[in-house]
Symmetry: C2
Subunit: 185 residues, 2 copies
Amino acid sequence: MPTDPSAAAKSTRSRILAAADALARSDGPGHLSLDAVAQRAGVSKGGLLYHFPSKTKLLEALVEEFLSNFDGMLRARETDARKDVLISAYVEFFLNERRLGDPPPSGLLAALAEDPELLAPVRRYERDFLDRIRANASDPALATLAFLAVHGIRAMELLNVKVVDEEEVAEVVTWLKHRLTGESA
Amino acid sequence: MPTDPSAAAKSTRSRILAAADALARSDGPGHLSLDAVAQRAGVSKGGLLYHFPSKTKLLEALVEEFLSNFDGMLRARETDARKDVLISAYVEFFLNERRLGDPPPSGLLAALAEDPELLAPVRRYERDFLDRIRANASDPALATLAFLAVHGIRAMELLNVKVVDEEEVAEVVTWLKHRLTGESA
DNA sequence: GCAACTATACCGTCCGGACGGTAAAGTCAA
DNA sequence: TTGACTTTACCGTCCGGACGGTATAGTTGC
């Protein structure tokens, strides 16, 4: 058993976040209730509100968690200065996430349902990353196209409208890889 | 004055749908209430429930309206049998919608917030259209990439996370046009 | 041609349940 | 014994939906 209270607190906290994310997916983003999250996380409602003093704070934390996960993964690859490293890493990272079967961050939708403004940090972050990708790209238009395509797939998964199948994704990725490695310089 | 009762009914119906769509955008997709829709549409709640017997039915109608608008526009271009006509038309249509400043169909998000399953028709339709695009494409991978990129932008607008600016969109479209017209054989 | 009846379109009220949030008391490790 | 953590109990509000009623416009029987 964890004797460290802060560790216990952290695990409760992340249990709550995971519960919220899962519930947003299964019940629909608009039906995310504090009672349901508390029950799913194995905490009383009061306990939940101790960690997140309001529903808005909970949703903010959900968005923040998504962004920090994303950011950490990507910064690691940014030491390599070669052309097209970033967009390739972006595609690769996305593919890997997909292969692992990681569920899409449905908490984002719950945040959106409550208040669209909660997604403002996402917009800022994505803008920043697109800037870096373009600056590092041998062909900014192609890199932007790839960036958009990844977002297209991510959005489809988020919205539960999965349209492209595995083969098609693989085909597109192969096509992209060929252009990205073959046309640099 | 319209003496045709069905015409009057239809206008009330579409007024309601437009009101719902607008409210989903301004208040957040999760805060769409029947009272608010009724008030915005200039109808009583009873009147609203006469036209749409439940909230779910209203949301279904919202989704259906989106799909039928989309479908009509696209079928028109499908007579031309040349290669890559479809994906080009798809991009063009999307661009035009964007230029007109048409607001994204936020009703879709309201439907998603209530019940993710309501988007199943969207998935079916999009899958169907992607099949047609690929069958008509000289390079299916490129066509799929373009399809995904368009969806990426659409999703960003839908989620209120507009990341790419006009110039970047134009750049990508030019790039695509060049490949689509230049590589067909 | 008119009375009886039905269908369509809409209104206003009410209720039961869900939900976000508060308050106060209890537990327990350090 | 103090303070982080958790619980139980409760409140006020909002919302979906049911319901009863109204008014106008056909439709039909005679």
